[in-house]
Subunit: 229 residues, 2 copies
Amino acid sequence: MRKGQNTRREIVKGALEMAGQVGLENVTLGALATELDLSKSGLFAHFESKEALQLAVLEEAVERFKLRVIRPALGAPRGEPRFNTLFDAFLEWMTVGGGDGRGFDDAAERRMGGCIFMALSQEYDDRPGKVRDAVVQSQREWRSFVSGAARLGVDEGHFRADLDIEQVAFEFVGIGMTCQQTNKLLGDPNAGQRARTAFRSLLARCRVRREMQPRRAPRVAGTLVRGSL
Amino acid sequence: MRKGQNTRREIVKGALEMAGQVGLENVTLGALATELDLSKSGLFAHFESKEALQLAVLEEAVERFKLRVIRPALGAPRGEPRFNTLFDAFLEWMTVGGGDGRGFDDAAERRMGGCIFMALSQEYDDRPGKVRDAVVQSQREWRSFVSGAARLGVDEGHFRADLDIEQVAFEFVGIGMTCQQTNKLLGDPNAGQRARTAFRSLLARCRVRREMQPRRAPRVAGTLVRGSL
DNA sequence: GTCAAAATTGACCGATCGTTCTATTTTTGC
DNA sequence: GCAAAAATAGAACGATCGGTCAATTTTGAC
């Protein structure tokens, strides 16, 4: 018997979309039921509590992120190529948003727009509970993946040996965050280009040395202090 | 007669603090009244609608931001010193959060923690209305101020003449955003240091040329393409 | 101290919140 | 096609939501 599992998925998908608009905490069982043509109790019967639904939504978001961002990166050769692919996929996720990856519903996709994890980071950074814990874990794992990709760049000899990979991850996600604000809130169509420019700069600092300190006399290759990134 | 004006301020301050925890949209008149030892109707009498209260809260946040970030920067000499001061003040705002600047209530200050505008950017990026419009305007003005500070750096001869000042602002705010997530959500005490390191890198790119393109043979000062930042 | 104006209260509105319970319908294994 | 199981519906719960209104208390200028 599996009809129930199917509707459960539909509920989670609908809740994820709604969460992108009003926030996960403000997804309402009644409104969700109305949108999905279900009775409120029929919907609720699939979860033991609203919190359980929220956790399911987060799980779905993580799955989509893996599908749309992590997997494409893993398909690229280790080192700089994978690092670049990771950023491209991340940027795509940030600007387009994460559809469910099975039969694109473009309209719904555009409507969702933007990275749900950024919203969740803000929504739960002061709200203790299981949902917050899950959000924290997802973001820790994401940073770890980014820094891991940078580490592979070092291992492959593409990046500097003394690269601070966590600093790279820090700046990497920062570019994505600004990009989202620039694109979605400020409505600047150049957000993607700005992000790519910033990433190119980050990439350059990963690759070479002696790029950090300002040089008053650029042609003279005198003693240069090694920067931390 | 002015007693009413005073309570109004108290209400707005309380609402701002509450907004930092649960989001501006979830600030509830009842809960706010309880916390301030007021009746719900007595509280509500000071505003024509909840939206008016929200706008007042946003206004208060903008005032605090000006007091804590903009003003210190304007007190520094134009150019690189002001640019540096701006970042320091911004970072302080991001990590400590914005108190009201009159008699520090440290407890309340720590409780608030973090930049309310980041939360608002997420909360309203998909929620049309006057509040969203006000949030957008505040963030546009903020970016404009940052890029203006960078422009002064160019004018003063501290920064490159061909500097893309909007790109600088883009990356500037990105550092702050990641810093907040790293500090508040992930609980990493090194977030501030990471942000400072990232800023030092950005600053270096503002100051000098020829830093963008990777060089396979660093010692050879061959033909170098000028990067956009 | 008086008295009008301002500030605040408390009761109440319909709507909706998450949740529970008991039917009723639909699906599925046989 | 039948019975058991699963899925859905409907009504109702107390609580709270934003908002209104008449009544009351507090305030401030004279």
